[in-house]
């Protein structure tokens, strides 16, 4: 077998692939698009590990806290840096105030020089956001002049919001707030990349779910126009090519589509890479340059895809003997057996089973087991479906003529019918499982924080030294703030906080005016000067034990410097009060004091906390409060509470997934249409003779509909069953409560059904055209 002969035969096949006129082209292009999608997804897949790696490395390289045990001493090579993160709408902004202390101070990655005070260097995404129309509130919070952009090396993603602003006197914030002195950035011993196992699972499942239907589609696509090809091959046999040659020519035809697909796939990938640079998924975005598949893997894809196409063709031809006078299919295949078909999905479940419950708690999923399991389960559909169709169709009883025609046809060729539907079933099952997983994980991520929204949605810590009442007033005057509750909070211990082990018992101290105190406890009466002790709950029930008149309690010192104990002696007659879940989602314990009851010495040891209720009906309601907080304390990052974190990231990824699945379904639909039309044309003569003896067009149209609808209906049922089961297992694996997301199940199934309907509707005009009696003429 010479190489030349091989290449000659394959080349002949390639020529045939495009020689079939318009239909030949459509087939080749459809195959190519399918292969192209597969290649693009594969290339993206091979690029993901490196992208995650690059991201992680960048993250490690810009870490800005000292890794040694001690902060370096001030020198001309040091820098003081303070966190000034903020949040705008749902997006986190990474903010840093920097103050170089000398000419050799380390530059943060991505910066070419330090911004002067009042200037800032921003990420491209933040620059864009600041310039946007609706961002006035953010500009108010970041009133610095933009003097440059952070380079790619200083960001972990194209969509990251970040800024570095020049500042002075940061060193004074080194106590209490997050200012730090550094002489270098980055972790000197970079940690190993440590991806969230759930995220990794999601990525793996997404890839498998997108790839599988494409693979099934390719497998079906290379068989497009099978009957016509068979005839062509038979003609080749007649003029003297041997069996092997014909097979090679057939393989060449398949390869043509695959090669064109490789080209398309590369284009898709390049386009997709640019698109990937502009989207953000779960708060993660990447630069197009991150998506750089390793050359070895890319080469593997380039070789494996055409090879797979050729192998599928040869596999499909194994039961076919091409004779010079036509194609003989080896005798009617034996009845399909169930047992080995069940092995595939069962094997898949067996691979996934050991990982159930590993989820958030103990880490890593075995990537191979996950992918293998999911693949086996999805491939299992393609094995089960032919059996299911055959079994069900074999049992379908009689009905009208249309029904009988459809059922009989399916009985005779259930394999073809199942093959056409396989892709849709796999796509739908995968999408359902994935949607369930997303919905479940989504649910976990947006779990209720339990905050009583009638009271507070935001908490701001008042910086030391700022007057509480005046600060509270500032917030009260802020737009969209409907209620302000100001409390001082501190801790009491039963022995010195400076002792070696600290106090045995400790409890909270909350100071505030009567209306504020009533937010945290049920008080029968209250006037200034009153004190209360709270019953608390299981977390902080030490209060009553410490309420021993005459007992000396130590107030927790603030900061690290002060070491002198401040004591408070428990007076007699403190009223017991019942604590309520108030501003926070926990019941407070410990002591409540009205302001005049607080010992003067303790005043500096309590921290002011302001709890804000926000009127969410005001657009950008939170941003006003955040701006006020910024003015009060530029380094404060208000704590946000809300009942469910509105997580739009998952919504986008889920709708993206829906769109992706819909595209795959459309592609499969297009191929369904092509083969449907092909079948119709082959039956042209029969159809016209049926019309001749008076068959209603409606009857024939209905039989075409049934013929598609029955296998698709079965396919969708199977897909729903498998999809929900797989989704449940994946959720169990992530230790998330199992819930079926019926909306997505129905929408995916609906998509599948819509495709069938569309295909039937689109094939009706050609059918009616075929049904014209002219069909009898051409002989």
């Amino acid at each position: 077998m010479s190489l030349r002969q091989w290449s000659r035969d394959l080349g002949l096949g390639v020529r045939f692939a495009f020689a079939g006129g318009r239909e030949g082209w459509i087939r080749a292009v459809l195959t190519a698009v399918g292969v192209g999608l597969g290649v693009a997804v594969l290339l993206l897949t091979t690029a993901v590990p490196s992208a995650m790696g690059v991201r992680h490395d960048r993250e490690q390289a810009r870490l800005d806290w000292p890794f040694g045990s001690e902060q370096p001493a001030k020198g001309d090579d040091t820098l003081v840096i303070a966190q000034a993160d903020t949040t705008f709408r749902d997006k986190d902004v990474r903010g840093r105030l920097v103050e170089p202390e000398g000419s050799r101070a380390p530059l943060p990655p991505g910066l070419s020089r330090f911004p002067a005070e009042g200037d800032m260097v921003v990420s491209p995404a933040l620059k864009e956001l600041l310039a946007a129309d609706g961002s006035a509130l953010l500009r108010e919070r970041l009133p610095y002049r933009v003097v440059g952009t952070i380079g790619e090396s200083g960001l972990v993603g194209s969509q990251e919001l970040a800024y570095y602003s020049g500042s002075t006197d940061l060193a004074s914030h080194m106590e209490g707030y997050g200012a730090t002195r550094l002489n270098e950035f980055g972790n000197p011993n970079p940690s190993k990349e440590d991806t969230d196992p759930v995220l990794l699972l999601l990525i793996l499942v997404v890839i498998v779910v997108l790839l599988m239907p494409v693979a099934v589609f390719i497998a079906a696509a290379v068989r497009f126009g099978g009957e016509r090809r068979d005839r062509r091959l038979a003609a080749l046999r007649l003029i003297g090519s041997d069996g092997r040659m014909t097979r090679r020519i057939a393989a060449g035809e398949a390869m043509a589509g695959a090669l064109l697909g490789l080209v398309l796939g590369t284009v898709f990938f390049l386009v997709g890479r640019q698109v990937a640079g502009s989207v953000e998924v779960m708060g993660i975005s990447v630069w197009p340059s991150y998506l750089d598949p390793s050359p070895a893997l890319a080469a593997l894809v380039a070789l494996a895809v055409p090879a797979a196409a050729v192998l599928v063709t040869l596999f499909a031809l194994r039961g076919v003997v091409i004779e010079p006078l036509g194609v003989v299919r080896t005798a009617k295949p034996a009845r399909r057996r169930l047992w080995w078909r069940l092995l595939l999905p069962l094997g898949g479940f067996a691979m996934l089973y050991p990982m159930i419950g590993q989820g958030q708690t103990n880490g890593d999923f075995n990537q191979y087991l996950v992918s293998g399991g999911v693949i086996l389960i999805l491939v299992g559909i393609t094995a089960l479906l032919p059996w299911l169709v055959e079994t069900v169709v074999g049992r379908l009883g009689s009905g009208g003529v249309a029904w009988q025609l459809a059922v009989r046809r399916l009985q005779l060729s259930s394999g073809t019918a199942a093959r056409m539907v396989n892709g849709i079933a796999v796509a739908v099952a995968g999408a359902i499982a994935l949607q369930m997983l997303f919905a479940g994980v989504d649910g976990a991520y947006t779990e209720a924080t339990g905050q009583d929204l009638t009271r507070a949605q935001m908490q701001v810590r008042v910086p030391d030294g700022a007057p509480l009442a005046a600060t509270a007033q500032k917030f009260a005057d802020t737009k969209a703030v409907s209620k302000v509750t100001a409390l001082w909070e501190g801790y009491l211990g039963d022995s010195s906080w400076n002792s070696e082990n600290g106090p045995n018992l400790s409890t909270e101290l909350t100071v505030g005016a009567c209306p504020a105190l009533r937010e945290v406890a049920k008080l029968p009466s209250c006037k200034d000067g009153d004190m209360f002790v709270l019953d608390g709950d299981e977390y902080s029930a030490d209060g009553p034990q410490m309420n021993k008149p005459g007992k000396k309690l130590y107030i927790e010192p603030s900061g690290s410097g002060e070491s002198q104990d401040v004591l408070w002696t428990v007076p007699a007659g403190i009223t017991e009060a019942h604590s309520v879940k108030g501003l926070t989602d926990f019941k407070r314990g410990g002591f409540l004091m009205t302001p005049s009851a607080l010992p003067a010495a303790a005043e500096k040891l309590v921290t002011g906390q302001i709890y804000l209720s926000i009127d969410e009906s005001v657009p950008d309601a939170y941003e006003y409060a955040r701006n006020t907080a910024f003015h009060v304390a530029p380094l404060a990052d208000p704590m946000m509470w809300s009942s469910t974190r509105q997580d739009t990231k998952f919504t986008t990824i889920r709708s993206g997934l829906l769109v992706g699945s819909a595209c795959v379904l459309l592609l499969i639909g297009a191929s369904l249409l092509v083969s449907q039309l092909e079948q119709l044309r082959e039956r042209r003569k029969l159809l016209s003779s049926l019309v001749a003896f008076g068959t209603r067009r409606r009857t024939l149209g209905l039989s075409v509909l049934w013929q598609t609808a029955i296998p698709i209906g079965l396919g969708l049922l199977l897909a729903m069953g498998v999809g929900i089961t797989l989704g449940a297992i994946l959720l169990k694996m992530t230790d998330t409560p199992v819930g079926v997301d019926w909306a997505s199940v129905l929408s995916m199934t609906g998509c599948g059904a819509a495709v069938v309907l569309l295909v039937t509707v689109l094939s009706l005009p050609p059918l009616l055209k075929l049904l014209r009696p002219d069909g009898l003429r051409t002989e």
């Binding site: 009988q404 046809r409 009985q411 029969l686 008076g694 068959t695 009857t699 009696p773 003429r777």
Partner: protein, 229 residues
């Protein structure tokens, strides 16, 4: 006029063009109940078009076709389809049996299209298959029987509704002479005994010899050979 009195189906001055091709240019035809008329002529002469017009499958561009006192050319498509279902039968050269249905289901199909319940339709079908000596093929599919057997099944199907006219377009075209003659024998015998008229399009003289009368179509015009002599 040319349509003799008492004819079941008569056509006058039929014209039909397919694009620039004149398939019929003034053709005429008539047939009596129970009569077997052969339509002959070279290929492309328009004999199949004549049959399609007569059977209401194709509407002529002009001319009249009277069936049993009714004008066929102006009937609605639905009405003509119904007529074809109930009063006409059809046999074609090949490719007319639905490959997925068994032979008996194929024969029963026209009855089922008319709304006869399945059991009853298949009983009637079987009795016709018996007359055409193919009742042993009931459970087989068309792909599993020989050409001659398949054609006999097709003949059984054309007769199963006891139609008044059977249109047979080259019914033996794909058969060898022995099988072809057997099919013709059975067809004409069954038709005569049920006084079904048969319009037989053929190019084979020996098949045409089973007819009572012959019409030759040339260049879209018909010629009744009985009136030649």
């Amino acid at each position: 006029m040319n349509a003799p009195g008492g004819s079941l189906l008569a056509a006058e001055n039929l014209h039909k063009a397919y694009g620039p091709t004149m398939a019929l240019a003034g053709a005429e035809f008539s047939i009596h109940p129970g009569e077997v008329v052969a339509v002959m002529g070279p290929s492309g002469s328009g004999k199949s078009t004549l049959l399609h017009c007569l059977a209401g499958i194709v509407t002529p561009d002009s001319g009249s076709i009277m069936y049993d006192g009714r004008e066929l050319a102006t009937m609605s498509d639905a009405r003509r389809s119904e007529l074809r279902r109930s009063e006409f039968g059809f046999v074609f050269q090949f490719g007319q049996l639905v490959p997925e249905l068994t032979c008996v289901e194929n024969v029963a199909l026209p009855l089922r299209l008319n709304g006869t319940p399945r059991k009853q339709a298949e009983r009637t079908a079987l009795s016709w298959m018996e007359r055409l000596e193919v009742d042993d093929l009931g459970k087989k599919r068309p792909g599993e029987v020989s050409g001659g057997q398949g054609q006999r099944v097709a003949v059984a199907r054309s007769l199963v509704t006891s139609p008044r006219v059977v249109f047979a377009d080259e019914p033996t075209g794909a058969l060898d002479s022995l099988n072809g003659e057997r099919v013709m024998e059975l067809l004409t015998e069954a038709a005569r005994s049920a006084s079904t008229a048969v319009v037989l399009v053929t190019h084979e003289a020996r098949v045409a010899a089973y007819s009572d009368r012959e019409i030759v179509v040339r260049d879209g015009k018909s010629r009744d050979m009985e009136r030649v002599i």
